[in-house]
Symmetry: C2
Subunit: 350 residues, 2 copies
Amino acid sequence: MARGGRERNGQTGARALDVAALAGVSTATVSRAFNAPEKVAPDIREKVLKAAAELGWMPHPAGAALASRRTWLAGVLIPTLDNDVFASQVGALQTRLSADGVTVLIGCSNYDADQAANQVRTMLARGVEALAVVGESHRPGLFETISGRGVPYVVTYSHRPGSPHPSVGFDNAAAFRRIARHLLDLGHRDFGLIHQPSIDNDRVVARIEGLRATLAEEGVALRPQHVREGPASIAFGRESLRSIVDAPGPRPTAVVCGNDALAIGALIEARALGIGVPDELSITGFDDVAMAEQTDPPLTTMRVDNAEIGRRAADYLLACLAGRQPPPPPPLESRLILRASTGVPARSAA
Amino acid sequence: MARGGRERNGQTGARALDVAALAGVSTATVSRAFNAPEKVAPDIREKVLKAAAELGWMPHPAGAALASRRTWLAGVLIPTLDNDVFASQVGALQTRLSADGVTVLIGCSNYDADQAANQVRTMLARGVEALAVVGESHRPGLFETISGRGVPYVVTYSHRPGSPHPSVGFDNAAAFRRIARHLLDLGHRDFGLIHQPSIDNDRVVARIEGLRATLAEEGVALRPQHVREGPASIAFGRESLRSIVDAPGPRPTAVVCGNDALAIGALIEARALGIGVPDELSITGFDDVAMAEQTDPPLTTMRVDNAEIGRRAADYLLACLAGRQPPPPPPLESRLILRASTGVPARSAA
DNA sequence: GCTCAGAATGTAAGCGCTTACATATCACTT
DNA sequence: AAGTGATATGTAAGCGCTTACATTCTGAGC
C-alpha cells in the first residue's frame, strides 16, 4: 500500500494536551479520567469528558499502547471463515473479549500450515497479547514461538487427552468412538467412511482413529474401497456414496461421515439411488447443522457447541491476561443426536 | 480486564537500538532496512536483518504507528459472522487487505443499530484507516462521524442507485424485480412472500420494494395474509409456508423467499404437506447456497458473489488509502439461477 | 586535482500517551 | 496548632519508532 494520504492518522487533530488545556487540568488527569475514572473527582472528570467531547478527542491507541505496553489485542487463528463452525467460534470469542475491551485480530490459514505460521507471526508482530489457535498440528516451533514471546494461548476445537497445550474443545476421537459404538450396537459390521482432508488436520485424524479403534474392538475394519477422503462438500458426499456402494466387496450397511455436509450429500445420493435409509443403509454426520434435522430422514449426528468453545477460549485467555494462572479448561461434551438416518441393518433385522 | 501480567508487551525485549548496536548502524538505518529496503545498501541491509533475527526483534507496531501516523488497520462492520454471506465477504476482504499489509478489525452489530454505532466508534478509536460497512441504514450521523475523521469507507452488500455513499454490492431491488418478472412471465398472479426482519435492514426493504413494484406493474398485490416476516431460518420457512397455504383467500401459486434458508424450509414443508413443487407451487430463494442445487426439486434462486464484494471493497479502500480518488465502484450483477422449483402455475397450465 | 550532484547513513526531534513520583489539599487527630 | 494519613492533582520522563535534515562519501565532469 502506498504511503501518503491523510494526516493525523484519523484523529481529529486534538491531543490530550489540548483537552487538558480546555478542561484546565494536566494531561495526567485527562488520562486518568479515561482510564481510571474513580481516581478523579467527579466534577473534574465531568469537565474533562466535556472538553474531550467538544474537541472530538479520544485517546490515541498507539500512544496509549506505547506508554502502557498494553495493546488490548488478541488473535485467533482459524482455517477459514467460510465454515460456520469456525465463524461462530470466532463470533462468540469476539463478543466475549470485546466486552473486556480486547479487540480480536483474525488470521485465516486456509488449511495451509505455512499460511498459519505467517498469520501467527503477523499477529505477534501486531502485538497481540493472547492467541487462540484451532488445532494443534502446526509447523514445529509455532507454539514455542508464541510462548517464547510470553503470549498465552489456547488450542481450540480439539481436546486430545495428553496434549501439552491448554485446549478448549471436545475429544474428537471419543466423539467418533461414540458414533462407532452406536452403530455397532445397532448390529452393523460393514462400514464406509467419507471424510474431509486429513493433512495438517489433527481433528480429522483423531476422528478416524477413534472410529477405527472402536471398530477394531469388535474385529471390524474399514475396507480401503469404502473409505473416501475429499472436500467437505455435499457434492463430494454424493459422489463418495455412489463410489462406496459401487465398490467391490460386501456393501457397507453404515456410512460414517466426517461432517454434516458430507452426510447430507450421502443421504441425497442414497435417495437418488433408491437405497433406503436407514433400512438398507445408516448414515451419520457431524456438527448438527441446522439442515441436519430437516433432511429426510433427519440426520443422526453429533452436536458440538462451537459458540461455547469460543466463549471458553475467551474466558481462559482473559484469565491469563489478568495474571491469573487458570487451570487448563475441561473438555466440552459432544452429544450424539439420534435421528432417523441410523437404524438396525437389514440383514440382522431380517 | 485487570492490568498487570507480562512486561514488555510481548516483545522479546530487544529494541531498534539494540539491533542497531549489534549491526553497527544507527536506528534510522534499522528502520529503513525494514520499511524502505531499497534505500539501504544490500550488505548493510543484510547485516541489519541478521542482527534483528538474532535478537528476535521486529518493529513494535505501537512505536511505528505513533511515529509514522499509520496504523495499517482497516475495519469491517457486519451484522454477524454466523452467516455465510457475510463471513465469506469478510474472508475475501481480509485476504486482499492483508496482502497489502493491512490488518482487518471485525465488528459485529448483531443486527442492532446501537451496537453497530458502538463498534464503529471502537474501531475508529483503534485507529482504523478505512472502513467497510454492510448496508446503509444506520444511526444518523454514523457516516458523517466516519468521514469527519477523514476515514474512507465503503458500503457493502447493497448498491442502491442514488445512494450518497460509495458502495460495493448489487441492486437488491433490481434482483427482486428480476425474480418477480420471472414468476410473472410464467403466469403467476397470486404471490406469497417470506422474508427476514426488515428493521434496520435496507437490503431486505429494497428487495420487498422491488418485488412489490414489479407485481404492481401487472396489477398484482401481495395479500397481507400471504406475507410473513421472521428469522431467516429453515424452521421459519416451514412454519411460514404452512401459514400461507392455510390462510384465507386464493392460495398463492408462487412463494418468494428472502433467502435460501427460508426457501428450503418452504420446500420441505410443501413436500410434507403434499404440495407439488413446482406444479402446484413455485418457490424461489436468494443467495444460491450450496444446498440450493441439492434440494428436491433444486431451488431457483439468485446468485451473488459475496467474495467478490469483499475483494472489490478491499480494492476500493486500498485505492483510497493510496491517496487516489477511485471512482465509486460499479454495481455487481446478481444472476437468476433457474432450477426446478419454479414453473408454470397449475391453473394456467391446465 | 577540484567541484558537485546524488546516494547512503547518522543525528535527533518528536509522535501522543501513561505513570512513578512529587506536591498540594483536606479532614481529622492529638 | 501542628501532625498525620488519605486523596487528588501535577510534573516530567519515557514508551520504541520514524523521518526531516544534516553529514559524509562516491564518482563523474571539467
